[in-house]
Symmetry: C2
């Protein structure tokens, strides 16, 4: 039965879109979907190659709609479909929308995975729904071969095909791609797969049919660089990892980096080269893990604090180090990655750097807000992204305030006498018995508490090397709760008589956490460093609350590597974060990285970031006299332990560790 | 008298624009002109630095208009004006429009040189009026210094200033400029001068006030590369020169270059590197002649035949060598010059390559049409751009046809036994006495004819080394007119008995032009080579005439280096060009280069080129059977000398040379 000889037309309803229309016999389901604006994916442009337009037919009578639907209301399977079924597999009831031609009334179901703009599966730090809609899309086209009568040029035939097959008009082509285009169009029978950015610019052309398009989301932190390699066609994270920012050799905190750039003529250039190489190498490693070639990587999104942003772009960070803290650029920047010397990407691939809010609040902060979705809800939410600098955002969909607070590296375990980064062997959890002043603790890499009889054996191969940021917080909070520290943060020297854990060395005191070797102790200086850091956080949050005119917050979100490991109760005991019901405090992990990934996978999110940058009110702590006042006031601990509202729960808290211990025993059994 | 306290308003008429309006006291003439849309130039944005907004006031009563105009209806000279007058000079009656404030009714005259869009002075090959309107414009701005209360970024403050001071909204900035922007905005008191391309993109930022913006127009021919360095602010040509295309070592004609690329794997890449280096070096030399820095050069326009176009862009030219002659790209191409490895330009400067018409007709041909203006007039004009390939265009504003005809290198003196390029010592003019068969000639570098008694002395230091293309044409035309050649192009061997000038060597004959050393002769093979070349030209022109349905042309324009030296009468005698009244034949020089210059200086001309590319009907001689027929038919000479309509004039022709001889004698005296 030739479709062209059949003059009848049929009623077709697409579900779940609920769109319907009449189509002549012989029209493909894909064409019908496109005509109705139904979201049905395709890369191959209807050649039965990509399998992204799979549909099913609903069998039965839809009397209300006047449709009697049946799978035989589609013409039989085509040769292309048979080949696809053999080669790539296709569920029995599924048809390829581009092959299946309508020959009767139909109700067609479009499964979620066949929708181009399908909802993304949420990740750890995503607190809002996101739809897949990447800035780069793939299109397989078959440019017409050149004819002597009308010898149209390669570029023009390619653009004609994009317009004719995909409705993409007015597309431009990066002239750097012309040499490869020439070569590829010599084998016209295979066609080419074109990557189009923003529906406007061809950024890659590859031979034949391709259905791989990857993207990278990078969060460049002062201490850690984290990258995620994503599939732009599915939204999946294929590989993710982090590594230490090699700039750290020039100073742990941001201001040391700025000083290095100020003092050394090539300082900024060296740091730029280092961070680009590190990111490039990290992404190359992720690509190799995911068995991907650089050519598969078509887009990067990079977020970071303003100083990392400037260094990544090869800009001088020193103006960010002194008033008036002027960035070189605050709007989004887009450029070709090759211009930055990056090789872990296709030659035409672009990097997008979302806007900054101000000299001290960067795209990392915006991205965290984007992922956390605090700009979408009613609740007054405090988002704290703790790093060497803490970014603090407060507000809801009505109004958002942000500041950056110089917490310093103490919260990440640096500048603490026995501090170390959060790696295996670091003490990360601490409990102190208020009666005996004896501690117990856990180390990263071992699920047992130190008072477990199996602990020495379990940590034999895992030398206890120091204490990480979250461990220091817990230790100091517990020292406070046990009365070892006063409200002013002083270690009570009188306790040295009661417990050998408290020791005096000259005029300064310390608490011995672990006899060692190496001995791990919390010194009075350590307590002071944490007091300074937490006072900075507290003062920042308070300043924002005052500006917003609220005396409490509905929710606290802790982001960043440190934020995900911190114990909310103990953070609250120390006054790091405002009081709030414990169940309203969440650790959301690397929210900045999550936001970068959202901006990678959804182009509207980039507009959302730009709108956020324009909307967020920036409070400059460095010039705000109230900040200094509050900072000094916040150096002590907020209230006597006995009066703390959460203290009743404290005794029941070890439940979780115990569960872990049971699991761990099972594993060993 | 403070202008702000004066509430009156005054009638102002601008001449020659004829626009008028009422303005409050204290408004500057520049602001009034802008408000009325009067074309008054400015680079400094009204700071009295650039002097481009000079105006005069018309004194007297303009009763019909109700205006009593007087120079004291402008407030007195400002401090900035006094400084400008001292530093740069200002005619007594002139005022700076940006400084002069209105305080009475006025008639203001805007001199031509103060108009931004002033008409360009026409050059040799320009046959149509052009208005200066370059794609790159300069704007001096004073971005606000950053303030702590609102620490806006450098880029954003620059773009704000462009919008506020110049009304340029939505301008983008090349991210590669950000590092230099940072440095420049640290000295905010001087401001910066910004080069904006197409009113859309900042391509350069320089410190303080600058009023130099240069551009380059390049015509890349197979044999010669010609470049003109132009002032984008005045339209002046500051320096121009040409040099041999170094690719010539890979073959004189285009097809040899294509063969070289076919046979050698890196052939195209080597030719690309050679031509880019040559153009870059030539432009650097022009810049140094004009005392300009690469940073002053903000735009290039490059035209060339399709093969030169492809090689310049690093594209494979081999598809242009065989049917279907497919270019890689036919639309205009724009990219940054640094991407091509070009250094004789500012880092952000772009190159514009206008479109091709087809695989054999390039932007050089379009540019020649643009300069000659044949698409604007009623006359049916034949434009012949003779090079190794001849581009032939026929038509008028109604319809235009074009073809490329493979004339080969004979017309440029190559593949001729005693041929050479048109340099000093080459014979360029030839006359043969039909009675005695004795020749006289002139050589390049000496104004005397060879029968002048002073000729031997004058050429003693100028060895006669060969004969150039135009000399060969004249020699063969004269041989035909003297009866040495028959209509079939055969040298009459019987004449050897009558004159020692005609000699026989084996079976082939030759005509001895100069005894030498070296002896210069025109051989039978030379005549055949010219017959092939002129037949190609003739057949091409005839084919276009047939297609256009005309049996004559109203005008013939000869372009290209060869075209400017050829003698129209003798070209017609040989049948190289169709018959046409001699005064309707013009040599217009390098029209392609002139067209490139127009596209450099006027942005609308680029749209005109694009429209021409779409409009010109391309005739592919290689696949046109009528071309072969006509080519064979055109090998002979068109009519017996005795019947030639212009022959009567011929005897009176030597007048011009005699005048030259007198001049030359005066010079020696």
């Amino acid at each position: 039965m030739s479709s062209s000889s059949d003059r009848r037309s049929f009623l077709v309803l697409f579900q779940p879109a609920g769109k319907r229309g009449r189509f002549p016999a012989g029209v493909t389901v894909l064409d019908a979907a496109r005509a109705l604006g139904v979201d049905l994916d395709s890369i191959c442009g209807g050649r039965g190659l990509c399998g992204r337009c799979q549909i099913t037919t609903a069998e039965g009578s839809f009397a209300k709609l006047g449709i009697e639907s049946a799978s035989h209301h589609l013409e039989p399977e085509t040769e292309a479909e048979r080949r696809f079924r053999q080669r790539r597999g296709l569920a029995a009831e599924r048809r390829l929308g581009c092959q299946a031609r309508i020959c009767g009334d139909l109700v067609i179901e479009v499964p979620t995975e066949s929708q181009l703009h399908r909802p993304l599966v949420r990740k750890e730090a995503d607190r809002r729904p996101v739809v897949l809609d990447p800035v780069v899309t793939l299109h397989h086209v078959m440019p017409e071969p050149p004819r002597l009568e009308r010898p149209r040029a390669d570029r023009e035939r390619l653009l004609d095909a994009l317009a004719a097959e995909w409705g993409l008009a007015g597309v431009d082509l990066d002239p750097a791609l012309l040499p490869s285009l020439q070569k590829l169009l010599r084998q016209p029978e295979e066609g080419v797969t074109v990557a189009v950015r923003n529906g406007a610019t061809v950024v890659q052309i590859r031979p034949g049919f391709r259905d791989r398009a990857l993207g990278v989301a990078v969060d460049v932190g002062s201490t850690t660089i984290a990258a995620q390699l994503c599939d732009l066609l599915s939204g999946e994270v294929l590989a993710a990892d982090g590594e230490v920012n090699p700039q750290i050799r020039f100073g742990e905190d941001l201001m040391s980096r700025v000083s290095y750039a100020l003092v050394h003529e090539d300082g900024a250039a060296r740091m730029t080269a280092l961070v680009r190489e590190a990111v490039d190498g990290l992404v190359a490693r992720l690509a190799s893990e995911a068995d991907a070639a650089p050519d598969d990587i078509l887009e990067w999104v990079v977020v970071g604090n303003p100083i990392m942003h400037h260094l990544f772009l090869g800009l001088d960070p020193t103006p960010l180090g002194a008033a008036p803290f002027t960035p070189a650029v605050e709007g989004a920047v887009e450029m070709r990655l090759v211009e930055l010397g990056i090789r872990a990407a296709a030659p035409g691939a672009r990097v997008h750097l979302p806007p900054l809010v101000a000299g001290h609040v960067g795209a990392d902060c915006l991205a965290a807000v984007l992922a956390a979705g605090i700009h979408l809800g009613e609740e007054i939410t405090l988002l704290v992204d703790v790093g060497t600098n803490a970014e603090i955002v407060l507000g809801n969909r009505e109004r958002l305030l942000a500041c950056s607070s110089p917490t310093g590296p103490a919260l990440e375990g640096a500048q603490i006498s026995c501090g170390q980064r959060a790696t295996a062997g670091a003490i990360e959890r601490v409990r102190i018995d208020p009666e005996t002043l004896e501690p117990r603790f856990r180390v990263i890499g071992c699920p047992l508490w130190s008072d477990d009889p199996d602990f020495p054996a379990a940590t034999a191969a895992l030398p206890i090397s120091g204490i990480c940021g979250s461990g220091v917080i817990e230790a100091i909070a517990e020292m406070y709760l046990a009365g070892i520290l006063g409200a002013d943060g002083r270690i009570d020297p009188a306790l040295a008589a009661r417990s050998p854990r408290v020791c005096l060395e000259g005029r300064t005191a310390a608490y011995r956490l672990h006899p060692g070797p190496p001995e791990i102790r919390i010194t009075q200086e350590d307590v002071r460093a944490i007091q300074l850091a937490k006072a900075a956080l507290h003062a920042g949050a308070e300043l924002l609350m005052e500006r917003l005119g609220v005396d409490h917050v509905d929710r606290v979100l802790l982001a960043g590597a440190f934020g995900s490991h911190i114990d909310p109760l103990r953070a609250m005991v120390l006054g790091m974060i405002p009081d709030c019901p414990l169940e309203r405090v969440d650790s959301i992990g690397n929210a900045a990285g999550a936001g970068a990934r959202i901006a990678l996978l959804n182009r509207a999110a980039r507009r959302e970031l730009a709108a956020l940058a324009a909307r967020i009110e920036k409070i400059e702590t460095a010039i705000e006299p109230r900040f200094q006042e509050r900072f000094v006031a916040a150096l002590g601990f907020p209230r006597a332990p006995a009066r703390h509202p959460h203290l009743a729960r404290r005794v029941t808290l070890p439940a979780a560790p115990r569960q872990e211990r049971r699991r761990s025993r099972r594993r060993r059994a």
